[in-house]
Symmetry: C2
Subunit: 246 residues, 2 copies
Amino acid sequence: MSGLSPLAPFVRTLNERVELGSDDKRLILDLPHFTRDMKASATIVREGEVPGPCAILVRGFAFRHKLARDGTRQIVSLHIPGDALDLQHMFLDCADHNVQALTDVRVVMVPRAALRALALQSPTIAHAFAVSNLVEASIFREWLLNIGRRDALQRVAHLLCELATRLEGRDISGDYEFELPMSQEQLGDATALTSVHINRTLKRLEDAGLIVRARRMLRLPDFAALKWVAGFNPLYLHLAQQKAAA
Amino acid sequence: MSGLSPLAPFVRTLNERVELGSDDKRLILDLPHFTRDMKASATIVREGEVPGPCAILVRGFAFRHKLARDGTRQIVSLHIPGDALDLQHMFLDCADHNVQALTDVRVVMVPRAALRALALQSPTIAHAFAVSNLVEASIFREWLLNIGRRDALQRVAHLLCELATRLEGRDISGDYEFELPMSQEQLGDATALTSVHINRTLKRLEDAGLIVRARRMLRLPDFAALKWVAGFNPLYLHLAQQKAAA
DNA sequence: CGCCTATTTGATAGCCGTCAACCGGAGTGG
DNA sequence: CCACTCCGGTTGACGGCTATCAAATAGGCG
């Protein structure tokens, strides 16, 4: 209900992990907010700043990143519509990283105070916020494993598997075709590789029949095989009734 | 007050980031719990398991890790006395990684239900729990930067800086001398390097006068220089009155 | 004292980075 | 409508950081 509120994607995402009652959904949809459209590469949160209102992504893609002293960049997470972009900062007084738009985006800004009040008012919503943050932490851990312990082919394959899985039931049709919203340079920043090596690695994946590229559109003709190559186990996304996979 | 409860280190750690009133401290100290001693390398949380009571580390060191398909291991965080070992899992139904004792440890086990009830009862404590999880997520992000964008020398130096900073005012004396509780193999698992290369890197740091080793004891004769080499900025630990450092 | 694990050191190999050139599509302005 | 420009993608040659393999040493514990 109320797919009209710009906050609907947020409710939808929260509801993927924690079942929300219709009253809780209503409380979220009725949060005070304003909408804001931004161009690709616009900065949404800047490191060192005191966080303002909490941004929620409703259209387009965004990413978090940190900069090393030598200016190189490490992307630490990707975000899709429905993701809260700084629930991470709801309780911290100083941003420790940057959040930037990957594509043109629409975000909804909600005052931090309203979110905190809501968490106090509804234990279920507080629970959903906590779970949201914990799942994001889990994704960070998986990325650490990805960058620390997998070679270039596995790393890139894993990133694609994660994106495809998270987009499932959204922009993705049944045969796993979707727009990869990143340049090869950005893929490199996310996987700790150079854009040159990303290029060679994508080619290897394509030659192996694991991906099909056409411009920025990507199709995964054999998702199971890609998952196998990547060593991808979706448990860490905590999406639903998932049990131990040994 | 009540440095006698085994939960005192937990209160102390929480209080580093969120000022707790004496009533809140009392509520935590009075949580139902039992103490458990474990040997080095004992498993405290196992991937795939449904989390039981929440473990809090009160003595010794512990670490989180994930395993890649080929059996290699990535350590994703280190823990010191006072750290909660699965606040991470308080709201998730399936552990997505392992937690293991690094040294002989003493942990205090608290029922999840009691912790969740406490969070509902006291907004300040709920806030402290949230901050604790957010800081851990921030550390994950910094580790991603560390492993993804820094070379071996910087990586190891950064890990040492983090440990020294987190231990400050605990087991560390004024001149930054402390026991490094990890084997070189474990250092390698934490920095995505091999134990052989850790060895060479520690030697380089020693030759440069940045560390002094004697058995597992480590001294940092010039912490400022080590921080500079590491590109270490403690902002991400959110320890106290920290502001933007540009 | 002897075993076992951790540390140390050397030689060699490989994955990926760096540098550089070329290509190709999209947007722009004439 | 076409030339120009620019950014991103593509490809090749070369180099370096770190892994791998192997062996020797040292330290801890029975």
